[in-house]
């Protein structure tokens, strides 16, 4: 093994340690956790997971999160596609300013928007619905999706469009049957990032929900404070939140690096 590969190995080890600890914790009994330090679970238990999968407050937390994340991802990518196409193919009045303004929304601290969002979505009676969270998250996901997709679309030569029009394709048919398959990777990467940022964002998701659409994170904080020191349960819930991300990232592993480098600032 080369000396150089020591650095990534050490770095990955550093990344994995807290995750390992979370997972190890989730298989320990509360007694074992409180009685002192142990590197491996001494009495391996699935009790914490059983609690989560049998208590509706817990598992609905997951379902709620997945529902609004999915809605957000689909919505963000769908509206971003035509916009990214416009930015990559046409010049129009105010295009640069619009692009920059979209990106500034990525810079807005979520904390700034928490309260006004609460009021906005309450006033249109969307408070505590999936749609509220999904819509709120488009604030930072739509600009990101436009940005990534635009980068991929710029890589597709314009001749493709022209050839299709010459061949008598209408725009919608061209877009769906010819253009989309060509930027599959881009759509995948954009969807991945929308999924990721919607899945990890908690401040807005918590602010905009109460009971019906409560995300898993909110369930976790409530449990942490009301049930006192249920670390094992908390760890199990945390472990389960890692899994969707891990699955999604495995699917796009070959595109991640490229997705990150895409687009212009």
């Amino acid at each position: 093994m080369k000396k150089r590969s020591l650095i990534p190995i050490l770095y990955i080890a550093f990344l994995m340690l807290p995750i390992y600890w979370l997972v190890a914790m989730s298989f320990k009994t509360t007694n074992e956790i409180l009685s002192g330090f142990s590197l491996f679970p001494q009495t391996f238990t699935l009790e914490n997971y059983v609690t989560i999968f049998t208590d509706p407050t817990w598992y609905w937390g997951y379902i709620n999160s997945i529902i609004y994340v999915t809605i957000n991802t689909v919505l963000s990518v769908c509206v971003a596609l035509p916009a990214a196409y416009a930015f990559s193919r046409y010049r129009f009045l105010g295009d640069k300013q619009l692009f920059f303004w979209l990106l500034t929304n990525r810079m807005a601290p979520a904390a700034v928007f928490a309260l006004p969002f609460f009021q906005l979505y309450s006033s249109i009676h969307l408070f505590d619905t999936y749609l509220a969270v999904a819509l709120a998250h488009t604030l930072f996901n739509v600009p990101l999706a436009v940005w990534i997709l635009e980068g991929f679309m710029r890589g597709i030569p314009k001749e493709l469009d022209e050839t299709a029009y010459v061949d008598g394709y209408s725009f919608p048919r061209f877009f769906v049957t010819i253009f989309l398959p060509n930027i599959k990777a881009g759509v995948g990467v954009a969807a991945f990032f929308c999924f990721m940022f919607s899945w990890v964002e908690m401040l807005l998701a918590k602010t905009l929900t109460a009971v019906e659409a409560k995300p898993i994170a909110a369930v976790m904080t409530r449990t942490a404070s009301s049930a006192g020191y249920e670390l094992g349960l908390l760890a199990a819930a945390g472990t389960l939140t890692i899994i969707p991300g891990a699955i999604v990232i495995w699917f796009v592993r070959n595109y991640i690096a490229r997705g990150f480098a895409m687009g212009r600032v």
Binding site: P18, A108, M220, L234
Partner: protein
């Protein structure tokens, strides 16, 4: 290349509507609050720029802003070089590349409050791996809930853990786009490893590095959930960063006017610094 076509606006319309709804309406609300005083009952009085003045002069805001800048500065100082070093030492092809990438990206896909909880569990004295190791094996007195220094170190290490991979992935993407011929030419020209980095790798990473620094600046400047869950801003106010303070004022004390004024100042600073960064880092290209 791109053709002039005003109809393109129709394509942009859905995005425009959606983002405008989400950005403009709340922003107007914030602006509205920032210039008014309320005593409840939905009664508002014109306050002018009073709140802005009060916030800018308050020690509390200045202290939070100072902590925020220190935090972001340290984050950039650690994460950018570390990210570059890890990216440089990554294998360029083969079986291990996707494995490395997936493992590295994993922390970024964990919900932010879980990141906070995870580090809380990890650092608890007696119970957590790191807390136990520092206190009971190395004999260092470490307790995040009591010592501001421990709390700061933990928050920084947590963010390094959480976000360095972003810099790694971006730099890596820049590195793999360098054709082999550059390395071969450098070998033939007798360039040292440092020269290869200085004259080939760094210039080719410049674009992605600009993105990395900007993203890391914005996100670390706006950070809220992870440190809030980990330390709650404590001990005392030692890790109360801007966002945490803002939420305390807005949702905790319900002081809408000052909170709104603070939001706008906060946003303005983020925009301003991002713009300065961007201009400085792309200045060379313009020449």
């Amino acid at each position: 290349m791109r053709t002039e076509n005003q109809k393109a606006w129709f394509f942009v319309l859905p995005v425009l509507a959606l983002v405008a709804f989400n950005a403009l309406v709340p922003m107007m609300t914030v602006v509205n609050y920032s210039v008014q005083e309320t005593f409840g009952n939905n009664q508002f009085f014109w306050e002018g720029l009073g709140w802005f003045e009060q916030i800018l002069r308050s020690d509390r805001f200045q202290a939070a802003l100072g902590r925020q800048f220190l935090f972001t500065f340290l984050i950039l100082l650690i994460e950018v070089p570390l990210g570059i070093i890890v990216a440089l030492s990554m294998p360029r092809k083969g079986f291990w590349v996707p494995v490395c990438l997936v493992l590295m990206a994993l922390p970024m896909l964990i919900p932010w409050n879980v990141v906070g909880s995870m580090w809380n569990i990890f650092t608890l004295p007696k119970i957590g791996l790191m807390g136990y190791f520092l206190n009971d094996v190395l004999g260092i007195n470490y307790d995040m809930t009591q010592q501001p220094l421990s709390a700061w170190i933990t928050v920084i290490v947590m963010d390094v853990w959480h976000w360095t991979s972003l810099v790694v992935l971006l730099c890596y993407a820049g590195l793999v786009s360098i054709p082999d011929a550059y390395y071969q030419a450098a070998k033939i020209d007798g360039a040292s490893p440092w020269s290869v980095f200085r004259y080939i790798q760094l210039p080719k990473m410049k674009t992605v590095l600009t993105i990395a620094v900007l993203l890391r600046f914005m996100d670390s400047f706006n950070i809220y959930t992870e440190p809030f869950v980990l330390t709650g801003g404590g001990p005392g106010n030692s890790t109360t960063l801007l966002s945490i303070d803002l939420v305390k004022i807005a949702l905790g004390q319900f002081d809408l006017g000052p909170a709104a004024a603070m939001s706008l100042i906060y946003f303005a600073i983020t925009l301003l610094v991002s713009w300065v960064f961007y201009t400085l880092m792309t200045k060379d290209d313009a020449q």
